[in-house]
């Protein structure tokens, strides 16, 4: 598959038949530093992520992919531009409101250090719910635990779990509150290939079977190939997009970016 240049234009409106938008970035700019030392990590990025879609954000180191994800997820505030989560504009919200949004409406899986060392796997899974004083949906919880194969690991502390198991606990935690969007930041970065494949499989399954929206940042073409769509980023700008990617097509696209 080659680059579909027609879709590179920023601010493309959704057309009929396309999925509804779960989260939308409009003309995002994020500048670090001031004056001469100012660096624009994001330089006018506009992109939509559809409901029930698995989107990968790719790009070389320093392309701004993590910054984009942090801004989308309300972990960081952009210098300019807007982020719309459903109907809510995140960019104008004070910290307390953003905190609530992170707690109730989005889920996270990070590359490493996903779990609190002093809590058991079970407590880690329920953490966002308990922070918001919400009761877990028991049926959904047991489905997740079963699907992720964590039944006999629930009372263990993170230090007693393998890397793959830790990451599966993180996935369970991200999904348990049925958030509007799950953000995954290099979720397989620290895993061996088998564990990584498992985790990516679960993320894709959550999209296919449960209609979850997932946005994943990765630099691994193999990981990106699990997604429905790949958004390319370079030097803080959108640099292309792939549909139904394969590892080869992703690698190709990355090579073109590097050229």
């Amino acid at each position: 598959m080659s680059l579909q240049t027609g879709e590179l234009a920023a601010g493309r409106l959704p057309q009929d038949g396309e999925p509804r938008t779960a989260i939308r970035a409009h003309e995002l700019r994020k500048v670090y530093g001031q004056g001469d030392t100012a660096v624009a990590a994001l330089d006018g990025v506009s992109v939509d992520f559809g409901v029930g879609q698995f989107t990968a954000i790719m790009g070389p180191s320093g392309s701004g992919k993590s910054t984009l994800m942090h801004c989308l997820a309300g972990l960081d505030t952009p210098t300019e531009g807007q982020v719309l989560l459903g109907e809510t504009e995140l960019t104008r919200l004070p910290d307390a409101e953003l905190t609530k949004i992170r707690r109730d409406r989005v889920g996270f899986v990070f590359q490493s250090f996903n779990l609190l060392p002093m809590l058991s796997a079970n407590d880690n899974i329920l953490l966002p719910l308990e922070l918001g004083n919400r009761k877990p949906d028991e049926q959904w919880l047991s489905t997740l635990i079963e699907v992720l194969g964590l039944s006999d690991r629930l009372t263990h502390r993170p230090s007693e779990l393998s890397g793959g198991q830790q990451q599966r606990v993180a996935v369970a935690r991200a999904l348990v509150g049925r958030p509007e969007v799950v953000f995954a930041d290099e979720p397989t970065g620290n895993l061996d290939s088998r564990s990584g494949a498992e985790v990516l499989g679960f993320l894709r399954r959550s999209v296919r079977e449960f209609g979850q929206t997932v946005v994943m940042v990765t630099h691994d073409p193999l990981a990106a190939s699990y997604a429905d769509r790949v958004v390319m980023l370079a030097d803080g700008k959108l640099a292309g997009e792939l549909r139904q990617p394969t590892p080869e097509s992703v690698l190709d696209a990355l090579r073109q970016l590097g050229a």
């Binding site: 993590s66 942090h70 997820a73 972990l75 960081d76 910290d95 307390a96 905190t99 609530k100 992170r102 707690r103 109730d104 996270f108 990070f110 490493s112 250090f113 996903n114 609190l116 060392p117 002093m118 809590l119 953490l127 966002p128 308990e130 922070l131 918001g132 004083n133 230090s159 935690r173 930041d185 620290n190």
Partner: protein, 808 residues
């Protein structure tokens, strides 16, 4: 260095306090030395009455010594001076003036020295106290009731005098006032070319045996010693508290270094990777500790000097009882705290530095430094701790039971060391117990706070230990003083069943006396008594009669007042022994041709023999009122009441005021001062410990940056994060306070038993629980714990969740 700021603060406080103690002590000692030296300027030898008194013959022979340029007699008459502001006279020593050509004498700050026998000069401070001005007349009288009117012609400069100075009069006047006036000594000045030693030997050879002759220098030392004993004791107490403060600072510093080094594990490992030897890593930590120690100690000394100067200035201004001395800095009071502070820092850094050398070079290559896994409390340490605890507890028990203070103190110290040693086990366990409630009802943040507080038992234990020491000592002081006071009170009630006993001998009580006493604020009951001298068992003994119906209102001890019935006589123990009687024996009292036989009952704290006024009337019909027994309002200020009673009934010249209230007032003041001083001095340790709590928290916050960021990403609000740290801090403070208060109660009670048990009848000791004080201690600890969390919590809440998650 930034991370070590709090450790520096702990050192600054500890060293500052230590140097304050040393400088004030040095200044006071130096000041006394100077003052006494100035007082005896020109004195080369002193004949001092040690075993014998100085006779006129001694004076005459010494004056004839060929080596002496001058010999002056130092004579003092003790006179009763009627100051206009007092109802009754007060005793003032009056020194005889002498020839001051060779030997220094007192100087005046206003007026002149007396030249006639009807003139005196008063010390300026005494004059100011009684509002006497130059030119005023005073009535003075001798012990044998002769009196003179003298004019105050000058005020003596006593601004540098230690203690209260004497008044002066001419030698002739002193001779008139008291022909047998006491000779304090003979001061000699040597002729040129004669050494102090030669003069002293010559004088010793001619004076009567039993008189000691000092050289001038030795005599000054002798006098200084007499005056500075108190200062040395005070200095010692101060020093002890300073050492405690420094010890607490040591704990805080050690803890800080341990945490900082744990956080630098990768840095250390990298150093080892590129070829640094263990010794070099160790040295680098020690070097850093030295720099920190020297700088912080230097700041501490400067701080101490400034505080001392301020304290001494305030003391001069408000007369705190310290001699009015100028600031005196000597080498030892500057360099000793500097040295001790640096040493304490070094000692505290040794263990962490050794731990730093154990970092494996590989640690640098691991992807992520595991955020300080919980360190397991060493088994050996625990075993040792339990042994110390058991042994110390046993000793403490023995000390309390046998009333051996030293054994008790040793037991207390040993068992406390035991507590500190098992702290890594005990403190987290207690935090879990106290934390159970917030963990259950306070939601996730509270649960995480409890988990955070116990995840590193060593660190938590070290942090709380510092606070525990201060709280334990303060509680101990409060409990001990309250218990000793209660013990005193109970034994006072036994020994002094009547608050105040006002009596006069030989003089007549005016008819208005009873009303005058009733009018005094704080006096609730006044019962007149009559004392007559009668004969019992062939001896002349005072017999007091009191109205049996009213006696109960002024005697606290109900058992005692119940014994006082017609037909009985209360007899004190010594009298009972002397008359060879027993409790319940018949006692016959004779006065003139009257005679009564009463049943003797043992009593404590009343007159030698006390009967009902009806029985006394059988001995001496219509005996005059000679005194009153008073009851006072327990809420009134005892000192004020006693003062007012002493100043009442001005027509009676010699009024004796005794009883429980007078006694109680004198020691109540001492206890109050002890309590305030103790709490104040120990407060410094608590302050240092709180700096330590804040420090541990802020270092933990640094360490948990990623963790907190994760929590924030998961939806923990800033407020919840701050609350989480506040709970963690509060838990540590409360455990330290709770444990400290419990220990303070145990130590305070056993200490009271060890200290007082041997001094009360039947070893009875009262155990007090100063509830309000202890609650206040817990409340202060809790509030301080919350305050200690403010800065670390603000820092933690500022961290943006995204930044912390990506940067590593």
């Amino acid at each position: 260095m930034g991370r070590l700021v709090a450790a520096c603060l702990a050192i600054v406080l500890g060293v500052g306090f230590g140097s304050l103690a040393m400088i004030v002590h040095a200044s006071a000692s130096h000041g006394v030395n100077e003052t006494i030296g100035a007082q005896y300027k020109g004195v080369d030898a002193v004949v001092y009455p040690d075993q014998a008194t100085i006779s006129p013959a001694d004076i005459a022979t010494v004056q004839k010594l060929p080596q002496a340029a001058a010999a002056v007699t130092l004579t003092t008459a003790y006179m009763d001076v009627a100051f206009p502001d007092l109802v009754r006279g007060t005793t003032v020593p009056i020194d005889a003036l002498y020839d001051t050509q060779h030997i220094a004498g007192p100087g005046t700050s206003s007026g002149r020295l007396p030249t006639a026998t009807n003139e005196i000069a008063l010390p300026a401070r005494t004059a100011a106290k009684h509002k006497i001005a130059v030119g005023q007349s005073l009535r003075i009288s001798s012990y044998d009731d002769k009196s003179w009117t003298v004019t105050v012609v000058g005020l003596l400069d006593d601004s540098k005098y230690v203690g209260s100075a004497s008044a002066v009069a001419t030698p002739a006047a002193v001779k008139i006032f008291d022909p047998g006036a006491y000779t304090r000594g003979i001061a000699l000045a040597a002729k040129p070319g004669v050494s102090q030693q030669q003069l002293t030997s010559a004088a010793q050879a001619v004076v009567a045996s039993g008189l000691t002759v000092y050289t001038g220098e030795a005599f000054i030392q002798h006098e200084v010693k007499g005056l500075t004993n108190g200062i040395d004791v005070l200095g010692g107490v101060f020093g002890m508290f300073a050492v405690i403060a420094l010890f607490v600072a040591c704990l805080v510093i050690g803890n800080t270094f341990t945490i900082v080094i744990a956080q630098r594990t990768r840095e250390m490992a990298l150093l080892r990777c590129v070829g640094a030897s263990r010794r070099q890593v160790f040295s680098s930590v020690i070097a850093e500790a030295t720099v920190v120690g020297v700088i912080a100690s230097a700041i501490g000394v400067v701080f101490g000097v400034a505080l001392s100067a301020l304290g001494l200035a305030l003391s001069r201004e408000f007369d705190w009882g310290i001699p009015p001395v100028p600031l005196h800095l000597d080498l030892s009071s500057i360099f000793l705290p500097l040295l001790l502070g640096t040493l304490a820092t070094l000692v505290a850094a040794v263990v962490p530095a050794r731990r730093a050398t154990k970092v494996a070079p590989l640690a640098a290559l691991r992807p992520e430094a595991a955020p300080a896994a919980a360190t397991k409390a060493g088994i050996l340490r625990l075993v040792l701790g339990f042994l110390l605890l058991a042994g110390g507890g046993l000793l403490l028990g023995v000390g309390a039971k046998q009333h051996e203070v030293l054994i008790g103190v040793a037991g207390g110290a040993i068992s406390f060391l035991g507590i500190l040693a098992i702290g890594a086990l005990l403190v987290p366990a207690l935090i879990r117990v106290i934390g159970a409630l917030p963990a259950r009802s306070g939601g996730v943040p509270a649960r995480i706070a409890v988990a955070n507080a116990v995840r590193n038992p060593r660190r938590t234990a070290a942090t709380t230990s510092a606070l525990l020491i201060g709280v334990t000592l303060i509680s101990l002081t409060c409990v001990g003083i309250a218990s000793v006071r209660k013990t005193f009170d109970v034994s006072m009630d036994g020994q002094y069943p009547v608050d105040l006993m006002v009596t006069t001998y030989k003089e007549k009580m005016p008819a208005s006396a009873e009303q005058q006493l009733r009018d005094i604020k704080g006096i609730t009951q006044v019962v007149p008594i009559s004392t007559v001298t009668a004969k019992a068992g062939g001896e002349e003994i005072d017999v007091t009669g009191v109205d049996a119906g009213k006696a109960g209102s002024v005697i606290h001890n109900a058992a005692l007042s119940d014994k006082l019935k017609p037909g009985t006589a209360l007899v004190t123990y010594p009298v009972l022994k002397r008359l060879k009687l027993e409790d319940g024996s018949p006692l016959t009292i004779v006065s003139g041709q009257h005679k009564v036989t009463l049943t003797a009952r043992l009593a404590i704290g009343v007159d030698p023999i006390t009967t009902t006024s009806a029985d006394l009337a059988k001995l001496t019909p219509s005996a005059p009122v000679t005194g009153f027994w008073l009851a006072s309002d327990p809420k009134a200020d005892g000192a004020d009441v006693v003062d007012a009673v002493e100043q009442s009934i001005p027509t009676v010249k010699d009024l004796s005021v005794q009883g429980g209230l007078a006694e109680r007032t004198s020691y109540t003041k001492i206890f109050d001062v002890l309590l305030i001083v103790g709490i104040g001095l120990l407060g410094v340790s608590v302050l240092i410990a709180l700096v330590g709590v804040g420090n541990t928290l802020s270092l933990s916050v640094l360490e948990r940056t990623r963790e907190n960021a994760l929590l924030r990403a998961m939806g923990l609000s800033r407020r919840q994060l701050r609350g989480m740290l506040a709970i963690e801090s509060l838990l540590m403070a409360l455990v330290a306070a709770g444990l400290g208060i419990v220990l303070g109660l145990l130590y305070g009670w056993t200490g009271t038993s060890a200290l007082m048990g041997g001094q009360t009848v039947e070893g009875g000791v009262e155990y007090a629980v100063p509830g309000t004080l202890l609650i206040a201690i817990a409340a202060v600890a809790a509030v301080a714990g919350l305050l200690a969390s403010v800065l670390p919590a603000r820092r933690a809440a500022k961290v943006a969740p995204a930044g912390a998650l990506t940067t590593e």
